[in-house]
Symmetry: C2
Subunit: 210 residues, 2 copies
Amino acid sequence: MAYRETAKVRDRKALTEQRILQASHELVAEAGFAALQMNQVAQRAGIATGSLYRYFANKETLAAEVFRQATEIEVDHVRRCLQQADSCALSRLEHALQTFAERALKAPKLAWALIAEPVDPAVDQQRLHYRLQYANLFACAVQQAIDDQLIPQQDPMLSSTAMVGAIAEALIGPLAQQAQDPTHAITHTITQFCVRGLAPFRYSVTGASL
Amino acid sequence: MAYRETAKVRDRKALTEQRILQASHELVAEAGFAALQMNQVAQRAGIATGSLYRYFANKETLAAEVFRQATEIEVDHVRRCLQQADSCALSRLEHALQTFAERALKAPKLAWALIAEPVDPAVDQQRLHYRLQYANLFACAVQQAIDDQLIPQQDPMLSSTAMVGAIAEALIGPLAQQAQDPTHAITHTITQFCVRGLAPFRYSVTGASL
């Protein structure tokens, strides 16, 4: 009897936590982490502010978790692009970069919050963690492209971190202006910048991709 | 008489402020912004902690000013590289990127603090500001390179922000490991990544620069 009670409470808590995170995600997607205020979150989630603090000790912890969940989704998309078996490593990389940029431009406010908004150090720490995770994913593809002699010998991690930085930083301006880019000129330019950085001979002789 | 008194006080205040900023800079260069504690700053500057607060209302304001001064020095170095009249726009750009990376690797702890350390939003705001300033400087050189037909038509600002991101992000790993790189392999790789990103034909046909 005591056990069933506990399981029920646990389920209800899990649901409430989910509701809190959903409400928080919406606020961030609408107006960045600056809009993540505890009383606003509580109101949108339909709970008392006091109860909210039982789930998340402070705004920083909540922000870090919102960041983590939103970024995991983006990382998953990139990972899936890189796992497609039916194309060469460079095409997969190009597809992954393009997908990352396109998704960002489709949800500019959220992407801006995740990539560039000045945030609490706890969230910044997560940013470093995930940028390293992106770089690790890219580095596998770069290594594969080297093995397949598509690009010359190079430090895969150094090139991959450069790509992560290039794509993130190049998006900041367009995201801040909430650019809608139906022609994909922005994503194409950034992707080509990155891929050409890896491969002096392949992409240059065929060229003309700017 | 009152005027001279005031001038003297003003001079003494300016000197004290300079001593505070010097002490703060040293702490950050030794162990990052995490080491910037008001009591530590006061001790090293040889003043009472209470007096310190008369100069800087809080740690965040002090940190932002330390960041600003240290970054201005780096921006100046990049600017000077880009102003050298005796070389083409692409060579100047290459030189500026190389200089930025070399200086970072020579003072890895300070560079890490300026580029990557999770910091207060006030400092993060400064980071955005200065990264934009770097990008603006690069964009002038990119535009010049386009005008001189050294590289194809492209959005100079988009390419320049990509370069700023690439160089900053690629340095984070080596800086975190406090890599000393006497062979300049790191700076060379990053610089080439950036410059190749701009120029599919120039750097590819002559190629082999990785």
